[in-house]
């Protein structure tokens, strides 16, 4: 068993952390969403989205500027989940419908 990446309460989501969904930047998260197929996004959504509030409540026990490492990973997973939920609920595909070559990313963003 490898070292857990997420807080114990969210051990069930470890496969998604291991699959690289705990990403610090918007560019990485958005790119991973575009590089994924819908079944992969749906799998993450089905497993994690029902626990969205639970994850937020857990994180909210900690100060934002002093999150432990596993909580930081969980926060990044929540950010990815936001991206994935838009693909699933709004577009039904990884990319924005009819978005052609329109693409842009954050150059400045808060951390975490």
């Amino acid at each position: 068993m490898s070292t857990p990446l997420l807080p114990e309460a969210f051990a069930g989501l470890e496969p998604f952390a291991a699959a690289g969904w705990c990403l610090a930047t918007e560019r990485e998260r958005y790119s991973k969403r575009l590089d994924s197929r819908m079944p992969e996004l749906q799998e993450l959504y089905d497993a994690a989205f029902p626990r969205f509030r639970e994850m937020v409540d857990h994180l909210d026990q900690f100060p934002l500027d002093d999150l432990p490492e596993r909580e930081t990973n969980l926060l990044y997973l929540v950010y990815s989940l936001i991206q994935v939920s838009l693909a699933v609920d709004m577009w039904g595909q990884p990319e924005v419908i009819d978005s052609g070559n329109a693409m842009y990313f954050r150059t400045v963003e808060p951390r975490p």
């Binding site: 909210d60 929540v78 936001i82 991206q83 939920s85 419908i97 978005s99 070559n101 842009y104 808060p110």
Partner: protein, 425 residues
């Protein structure tokens, strides 16, 4: 929906007329060159915010291709914000750049050193060091300081004016409608999300895309859950205002209902789960950001409910104030007749908790999805205009802002041409 007494917004500003319009200004290389001279070398241009200059010696550069200029903006040792042309006095080399002269630079320093021959300038622009000074002829370092650029700050927004002598002060230029925002707690908004893109369309084509809502329920149909989508009646803006070269568009929610007050089944699951959405957090819990504590000028039409006001500040700067306690900006920097660099920045109050940060992330993510849809149409519009198949287009009353913008561009170009012919008054 109350329109002005004249029966239409456009009729309220009769100088605009109601005829068909041309977009030759977006495809003509000659007009593009003229815009650089007539507009980008004459108007006050926003290049950033004081937040980007946190300390004495903080600086950043900004390339203004349409004016064939680059400027360096800095905070000097007295704490004042100043601007200089980013040009070394020795051989004309671009003074500050990072990696490539086409890129920008930022940082903190006490002196600027030219990469070419090592001339050094202080934060007040004076030349402090010229390599082998004794080899020059009749040389006085005091004669070779950086060339200053007119630079002024309004509500924390830094503007430059590349004219030799600006025709108006910054505040005069902004006028009463824009300065009506004064007192909005811009300084409280320190959590910054910045995006940049190079776009294959004339700068005005993208600006137009963000200055009307006529397209909103069609192009952005998916921003509403399927029950709310409506392709036959769509959405009408309840308030427009023009003031000089500037424009305001103000809205009060989808058919009068602010998004955060809709039934849960009329929102996307992420909005319900996060209690935040396209327009911001559902709970505005900072006193300074509650609507009753904002200056009335943020909602110049006195809309109730009020959701968003878009201030289009001529020529290329836009501020959107959201009733849900945040704001965003757009800037459009022409790089050729059919390309421009686009910048957007979202500004929130600093998150006090992971929950709040997650809510900001939801808003930022949803807002960007809509922006991508807008951006995706642009090269199609540019191609359509360049085809020359059509040269006169209708604009509805809902697009008064588009009509006004192109009229103002034409007026400034005409003023410039008149001045070239008869000399500056």
């Amino acid at each position: 929906m109350t329109k002005p007494a004249e029966g239409s917004w456009t009729g309220h500003y009769p100088e605009l007329g109601t005829g068909l319009v041309s977009y030759a200004d977006s495809i003509s290389p000659e007009l593009y060159e003229l815009e650089g001279e007539a507009i980008f070398k004459r108007a006050w241009l926003n290049v950033g915010r004081v937040d980007q200059l946190p300390r004495k010696g903080s600086f950043f550069t900004k390339n203004i291709a349409a004016a064939r200029s680059s400027v360096v903006i800095l905070r000097d040792l007295d704490g004042e914000v100043r601007g200089f042309h980013n040009v070394c006095r020795h051989r004309g080399n671009k003074l500050l750049w990072d990696h490539s002269p086409n890129s920008t630079a930022q940082g903190v320093c006490r002196q600027f050193t030219c990469k070419y021959h090592g001339w050094r300038y202080g934060l007040d622009g004076t030349l402090c060091f010229a390599l082998q000074e004794e080899e020059f002829f009749d040389f006085d370092k005091n004669d070779f300081g950086l060339v200053p650029v007119h630079c002024d700050v309004w509500e924390g927004f830094i503007f430059v004016n590349l004219d030799r002598e600006p025709r108006q002060s910054l505040r005069e230029f902004l006028g009463p409608m824009v300065t009506g925002m004064e007192g909005y707690p811009f300084g409280l908004m320190t959590e910054r999300y910045a995006y940049e893109a190079s776009v294959n369309a004339n700068w005005k084509i993208f600006l137009d895309a963000f200055q009307e809502y006529y397209h909103a329920s069609i192009l952005h149909s998916q921003q509403q859950v399927s029950q709310l989508r409506n392709f036959d009646t769509a959405f009408k803006v309840p308030y427009f205002q023009l003031d000089g070269p500037h424009r305001v568009i103000s809205t009060g929610g989808w058919k009068g209902t602010p998004r955060h007050l809709m039934a849960e089944e009329l929102m996307y699951p992420i909005e319900v789960a996060a209690e935040a959405g396209l327009l911001g957090r559902w709970h505005v819990d900072r006193e300074e950001l509650k609507v009753e504590n904002l200056p009335p000028g943020v909602n110049p039409g006195g809309l109730d409910p009020w959701s968003v006001s878009t201030f289009n500040i001529f020529p290329n700067f836009v501020i959107l104030l959201y009733e849900r306690g945040w704001y965003l900006t757009y800037r459009y920097w022409p790089t050729s007749v059919r390309t421009h660099d686009w910048e957007t920045e979202y500004w929130f109050p600093a998150s006090r908790s992971p929950r709040e940060r997650i809510q900001h992330e939801v808003t930022a993510a949803m807002s960007k999805e809509a922006g991508i849809q807008d951006m995706a149409t642009l090269d199609g519009t540019q191609q359509g205009l360049e085809s020359g198949a059509v040269d006169r287009f209708p604009l509805s009353d809902q697009e008064i802002t588009v009509r006004h913008f192109h009229q103002v561009v034409a007026d400034w170009v005409q003023d410039h041409q008149r001045e070239q012919a008869v000399g500056r008054p």
